[in-house]
């Protein structure tokens, strides 16, 4: 219950004046928050660099996002362009380069609210798909923003209003013969006056749930001619006489796609969930509602078991997937080194993992952000909570860079193939060797504490993944043997294939979390709290998916009750460290841009003062125009 007077002192922002309800949460942390932050950053030095970048950007008023929630689509687009242009200047000023250690933190510091992201995709696709000559010609132009690029496979970001050039994917025809999809650089707007080139029809596709800062567009081409040299020709070339020549391996191309999927996980998917957890958990210790004990003060809503059950599994998932991301990054770096040595053996596995995890993580995190939003009651629906924008943005990630269902089916295809190979005694990639080791045991847990043992739950996850894959493989074979055509049989199994792919990814995520915890330093309480989170992540997955574990009797009904008991116990344990665990994510107030999630917890004052600045509080013509005549009963004149 903060007095209005207190809000005045908050305006003066006396440093250190933290809402006591939030301050008390920080005094009882079981671990050192700063060390956990360093762990997440990959070392204290990295934390220092990141903070310096964030500080430089947030102290620059051009990058302010304070009015973001009040802006129209046009205003947000303009602000994003302004920021993108200013960023070039800023980078120069600060001495940041694209290869420097600061670069990867810039996007996070801007919270992604900047235009021309696809300009980078444009550049990357030229670097990957272009010949050396093409790279030498186009990359300098793009780097200096002599042109603004886009990438027109499906989502035409920036074609709407900004782009002058785009990479268009089109079916290549030579002398009436089709050679399939190829990339072409097409100029769509004049470099002088930005007018559309002849034969080009382009525009903005209109309002979306978010991404107002990007002018997603449409593009129609009619007899637009581009010089032969504009076909990106690292892998295929068309000779002047029309001869089609293939060169090198396209496999590297797949690798690029795969890399994009992995690279979006950290900034586009994990960051929003981590921010949403920060906001919802901090708010849940400031918000008080109803009484847990008669006569006492109203309780913090985080003290309610149901609230813990909503938020803490999301927090655990954020950590779990953070470590999954590390695992994938490492795997990809290794893959990249191999590919440079012309060894493409790892590609199928990398492709399967990146597809599956892109789908599983985006889906899980999107659902998680929505849970956080709804866990904040009415105030969650205010844009000033920050949660609606996080949600509308993250949910696009389930669609772009590969629709999730399609991706899971790609992973499933890999699983089925490997399962067949493993059954036939052939070697399979490391992430799927477990498919060969089918065990027909039962879960050995005897009491609820047994379920806090990673061996027990990892094995349960493994069992489910193997069962789903092998059952579906059997069904597929049965169908084919009974005369169903292969593609029909596949379609009839897709629902179960999707389940198998998810189970595979879930298993790897749990296993990797447990292995990560194993390797952590035991000092400063970090390993202990991470172990709790790992247990929670694993048991939450079982608790919310009991059918899969009970299905063939691997886990018994009685064991399932033990899982539930352990799971609920864990909630109460992690509850105590919930605020320190989100503090460790180290988001500044400016990057959260939320009235509910600020570090000092002065939720209500912030909300009240911020709302008063809303442009909707300017006098509306609606009163004079409609309400006054209505109240005076003269509306018929309308």
């Amino acid at each position: 219950m903060a007095l209005l007077e207190a809000s005045k002192s908050w305006q003066g922002s006396a440093p250190g004046s933290v809402n006591p309800d939030l301050a008390s949460e920080r005094q009882t942390a079981s671990f050192c928050v700063e060390r956990l932050t360093a762990l997440l950053d990959g070392g204290a030095e990295q934390t220092r660099i990141r903070r310096a970048v964030v500080d430089a950007i947030e102290s620059d008023p051009v990058f302010s996002r304070e009015n973001q929630y009040f802006q129209t689509q046009n205003e947000r687009y303009e602000a994003a362009v302004r920021k993108a242009v200013h960023l070039q200047k800023k980078m120069h000023e600060m001495g940041w380069t694209e290869n420097g250690p600061e670069y990867k933190y810039i996007y996070r510091a801007l919270s992604g609210d900047v235009a021309f992201l696809l300009h980078r995709v444009f550049m990357r696709s030229i670097s990957v798909l272009g010949s050396d000559k093409q790279i030498a010609k186009w990359i300098p132009l793009a780097t200096q923003h002599k042109l603004i690029g886009s990438y027109a496979q499906t989502e035409l970001g920036h074609v709407g209003r900004s782009a002058t050039h785009t990479v268009v994917f089109a079916q290549l025809y030579i002398h009436g013969k089709c050679y399939g999809i190829h990339p072409f650089i097409v100029q769509i707007r004049s470099l002088q006056d930005h007018s559309l080139c002849p034969g080009i029809t382009a525009g903005d596709i209109g309002p979306k749930m978010n991404f107002e800062h990007i002018d997603n567009g449409y593009l129609l081409l009619r007899n637009v001619r581009v010089p032969r040299e504009n076909m990106l020709s690292k892998f295929c070339e068309v000779r002047p006489d029309g001869t089609y020549v293939r060169q090198g391996s396209q496999k590297i191309n797949y690798f690029t796609m795969t890399t994009v999927r992995i690279s979006l996980i950290s900034d586009e998917v994990l960051t929003p969930l981590m921010k949403a957890c920060t906001i919802a958990i901090r708010y849940s210790v400031v918000r008080r509602q109803s009484k847990l004990k008669p006569g006492e003060q109203e309780a913090k809503i985080l003290d309610y078991q149901t609230q813990q059950e909503k938020l803490l599994p999301q927090l655990a998932a954020a950590y779990a997937f953070y470590f999954t991301n590390d695992y994938l990054q490492e795997l990809f770096n290794r893959g990249y080194r191999e590919i440079q040595r012309k060894n493409f053996d790892m590609l199928p596995e990398l492709h399967a993992l990146s597809s599956g995890f892109k789908a599983v993580i985006t889906q899980h995190c999107t659902a998680g952000v929505e849970i956080c939003l709804r866990a904040c009651g009415g105030h969650g629906y205010s844009l000033l909570s920050g949660l609606p924008s996080l949600y509308t943005k993250i949910l696009a990630s389930c669609i772009y860079e590969g629709e999730n269902t399609i991706l899971l089916l790609q992973t499933a295809r890999f699983l089925i193939k490997c399962f067949m190979a493993a059954s036939a005694g052939q070697p399979v990639p490391p992430s799927v060797t477990y498919l060969a080791a089918v065990k027909h045991g039962k879960c050995p847990a005897k009491n609820k504490l047994d379920f806090l043992s990673p061996d027990i739950y990892i094995e349960a996850y493994q069992h489910v993944a193997v069962r789903l894959t092998s059952n579906t493989a059997a069904k597929l074979q049965d169908l084919i043997q009974s005369g169903v055509k292969k593609h029909d049989a596949w379609n009839q199994c897709t629902v179960q294939l999707v389940q198998a792919a998810k189970a595979h990814c879930h298993y790897i995520a749990v296993k990797n979390f447990a292995e990560t915890v194993e390797k952590l330093e035991t000092k400063a309480g970090i390993q202990k709290i991470m172990k709790h989170l790992c247990d929670l992540f694993a048991l939450h997955g079982i608790f919310s998916n009991t059918g899969a574990f009970l299905h063939d009797g691997y886990t018994s009904a009685a064991q399932m009750d033990m899982v539930t008991a352990s799971y609920l116990d864990l909630l109460a344990v992690i509850r105590k460290d919930a605020v320190p665990l989100v503090d460790a994510f180290d988001f500044t107030d400016k990057s959260l841009n939320s009235a509910l999630g600020s570090y000092d917890g002065h939720v209500y004052q912030r909300l009240y003062e911020w709302a008063q600045r809303s442009p909707t509080n300017q006098m509306s013509p609606a009163y004079e125009r409609y309400l006054k005549p209505l109240l005076h009963n003269t509306l018929s004149k309308l």
């Binding site: 309002p207 629906y381 205010s382 897709t494 009991t546 059918g547 009970l550 009904a557 309400l627």
Partner: protein, 755 residues
């Protein structure tokens, strides 16, 4: 039966007798069809009238003998049917006139007489049933008032040509939604412009424009019944919120139900005539669901006979009320009443907040818009801070509790009545869940039939994405869910109307169950629909993300219903409280009734000492009623297990509240299982009522799909009750696949009729 043409056959009414203008052959055919249709309809109306007459007589004698009514439902159905048929008859007779049927004027007279008799029966019906059943909170049409008003208009010459015209109009009012929809859809004033391109402020202005127009039209059409108003608004505003919404619902209703006669006389004309615009200010910035925690104070000052209103803290600022930000000039404010130095708890006060004429906030009032939200751009949700703001004593709503001029507080007799409004609004949300989800399903399913993608068979054209199993698995269960919720919504509304009759006559026995059930179903359906709408959007790929797909707006408009009118988790726990109470009753040897009667079986099993889980229930997975049993066992098990866990916590000597909190995840699961059971049960029960065989067949498929999908999604729960002997989820999943492949499963379903 027409007297004028009672024995007429098509041949007799044919133009062979030399009518003034010879109709063409085709119009002769048309006339023949028309006349025969009218004959059939008129016969049916006659039959309905006769049946109703005799049944009304019987029920009337039942009433005199203090026996229960037997035929209310049938009579209502017959009268409704008669009215619908009469409307057709009036339309047909107009057509007959246009086709110059020689006896059209006589036929019209006959229809008019039938109409008079039906009107008479309607009056008798209302006199018999509704004098008892009219609940204060959900009144039916106030006929007397409408008639008065219309008579005045007629006398003043502003309205219709004469009495018969007037009666026709009144009859039309009785024909609910369709009629209203037709009114609105044909009215150019209500054509939707492209809201997608409007800014937040523009959307507010458009909403105000529409609301204002709507008020005028409501006046014009004489629509006064809350349910009719609700439908009218739905149609006018196209499912978008409106700034005047709370004026018509909460503000109006509260003044109608919680004021003294003198207060009614003063305020009701102002409210009904929209001379003032009001809202309902309950929620505060720091307080929502837990009403007792509200901090706003109203302190009585006997020296001036005024209440002094204050918002003592930031957290006490009223926050969220719709229409408060910019539209309203009055608000009903809930505040802690202090008189003679004592706090008397929450009471409601009518507080003027803006100057009439200038619309400026009054001195001592700080009021404004709370800023941008997730959707609801049309609505000026507002904040209100009061600083020693004085209102006269008479502005406290005093039907129940009173403060006398000297400050003496008079306690209310009972406060249970306020339950009714809550139940009513929550029941509307259940209906809303069905409607919003069916809108999203319609968009997603139609789009999936148009969108082609990838190859199912090599070399063939890209198939419709609706042919992919994964796409069907996403959408068809949702479609089934939309139907299930539709029937649940109808059920609650009916039950509400039935029980609310008892409330006003003082029989509250069924109220706890209804209250518990609506709380849980509100939560269950809004959660499910919320997730379902998102699923539909994602099933539309990238285009679903565009505002122009329509789904984002459905989502943002619907999703707050998980929070408002009772936060869903809190709602689930209310249902759980009722379940625990029922369980305790059963274990102490009492029988329970209603939807929880399955708990009685638990005690029977205890007599034959056999654990629930050990029971084997044979489930036939293609039989809905057998699946209802499976849901029942699951609900029973989860209720029992939650009750046992709760008891175990209590045995650890935890306080009641603490034990409850430590069991609340289990309790929510129990409630969910209970609600799920109720829904499957109601859906299954509905099947028997469907007359048309083809419709029944397709609804049965949908019912099965709904039930099986629930089982495969919650396979663990069902496995734990051993309701299935072996691998149920696999079986369920394969049957699911079979159901999905039913040819033409989709074609028959008239989704569009729900839009």
């Amino acid at each position: 039966m027409f007297k004028g043409v009672a024995k007429s056959s098509p041949s007799r009414s044919s133009p062979s007798r030399g009518s003034p203008a010879k109709p063409s052959k085709s119009s002769t055919n048309e006339l023949a069809v028309l006349i025969s249709r009218m004959q059939t309809n008129a016969d049916q109306v006659e039959k309905d009238i006769l049946e109703t007459q005799s049944r009304l007589k019987q029920d009337s004698s039942n009433h005199q003998k203090n026996k229960a009514f037997e035929f209310q439902t049938e009579n209502a159905r017959n009268l409704k049917e008669a009215e619908t048929l009469l409307k057709d008859l009036f339309l047909d007779v107009d057509r007959a006139k246009r086709l110059r049927h020689p006896q059209a004027p006589e036929i019209e007279k006959d229809i008019q007489q039938l109409h008079d008799r039906v009107t008479q029966l309607c009056a008798e019906y209302r006199a018999l049933y509704e004098q008892l059943n009219v609940p204060e909170v959900g009144p039916r049409v106030d006929w007397a008032r409408i008639l008065d008003q219309k008579m005045k208009q007629v006398n003043a010459g502003q309205y219709g040509p004469g009495m018969s015209e007037l009666e026709k109009q009144i009859a039309e009012h009785n024909i609910l939604q369709k009629e209203i929809e037709a009114l609105v859809l044909n009215d150019p004033d209500f054509q939707h412009e492209d809201l997608n391109f409007l800014s937040r402020s523009q959307r507010y202005e458009q909403a105000i424009r529409k609301s204002s127009l709507m008020v005028m039209k409501l006046r014009e059409y004489g629509i006064a019944d809350p349910e009719e108003i609700y439908w009218f608004k739905r149609t006018c505003l196209g499912n978008y919120p409106e700034p005047l919404g709370l004026h018509f619902s909460m503000f109006h209703k509260t003044i109608e139900t919680q004021t003294t006669a003198a207060q009614k006389e003063k305020w009701l004309p102002l409210v009904r005539g929209v001379k003032i615009i009001g809202t309902y200010a309950q929620t505060e910035m720091g307080h929502g669901t837990h009403l007792r925690g509200l901090e706003t104070t109203a302190t009585y000052d006997p020296s001036t006979q005024e209440f002094i209103l204050n918002s003592p803290t930031v957290t006490s600022i009223k926050w969220w009320p719709g229409g408060l930000g910019k539209t309203s000039n009055h608000a009903i404010v809930l505040a802690q009443l202090y008189t003679q130095g004592q706090c008397k708890g929450l009471h409601a006060f009518i507080v003027p907040i803006r100057q009439l004429g200038t619309h400026e906030p009054l001195p001592g009032i700080t009021v404004g818009d709370i800023g941008p939200k997730f959707g609801y751009d049309e609505m000026d949700n507002g904040y209100l801070k009061m600083d020693n703001f004085r209102i006269p004593r008479e502005n406290m709503l005093m039907k129940y509790a009173q403060v006398e001029p000297d400050g003496t507080y008079v306690k209310p007799v009972s406060d249970k009545l306020t339950y009714g409004t809550m139940v009513f609004i929550r029941s509307l949300i259940v209906g809303d869940s069905a409607r919003s989800l069916s809108r999203a399903c319609t968009i997603a399913i139609r789009y999936s039939a148009v969108r082609h993608q990838s190859e199912l068979k090599p070399g063939e054209p890209e198939p419709q994405i609706l042919d992919y199993q994964t796409q069907q698995y996403k959408l068809f269960p949702l479609l089934a869910t939309a139907y299930a919720f539709h029937f649940v919504g109808a059920y609650i509304k009916d039950t509400y109307h039935r029980i609310s009759g008892d409330i006003s006559t003082g029989d509250l026995t069924e109220l706890p169950e209804l209250h518990a059930l609506t709380a849980g179903l509100k939560a269950f359906t809004s959660w499910t629909a919320n997730a379902g709408i998102e699923e539909c959007r994602m099933a539309c790929g990238g285009h679903g993300y565009s505002r122009c797909s329509g789904i984002p707006d459905i989502y943002v408009t619907f999703t707050p219903s998980c929070t408002y009118e009772g936060e869903n988790t809190v709602m689930m726990l209310q249902t759980a409280r009722f379940l625990m109470k029922s369980y305790t009753q059963v274990t102490s040897g009492q029988q329970v009734t209603g939807m929880v009667s399955y708990l009685n079986d638990l005690s029977r099993q205890r007599i034959q000492p056999q654990h629930v889980a050990a029971r084997t229930v044979t489930v036939r997975i293609n039989d809905p009623s057998s699946l209802v049993e499976a849901y029942k066992s699951r609900a029973a098990r989860l209720v029992e297990s939650a009750a046992k866990n709760l008891q175990a916590e209590l045995n650890h000597r935890r306080s009641k509240e603490d034990a409850w909190n430590r069991t609340s995840v289990d309790l929510v699961r129990a409630s969910e299982a209970h609600c799920h059971y109720v829904i499957v049960k109601l859906f299954t029960a509905k099947l028997a009522e469907v007359g048309d065989a083809a419709v029944r067949a397709v609804l049965t498929e949908l019912c099965l799909l709904y039930a099986l999908f629930g089982i495969s999604r919650n396979a663990g729960d069902f496995l734990q009750v051993s309701a299935f002997s072996r691998s149920p989820s696999l079986k369920a999943a394969s049957l699911l696949a079979n159901v999905l492949q039913m040819p033409g499963c989709m074609d028959v379903i008239p989704i569009s009729s729900w839009l």
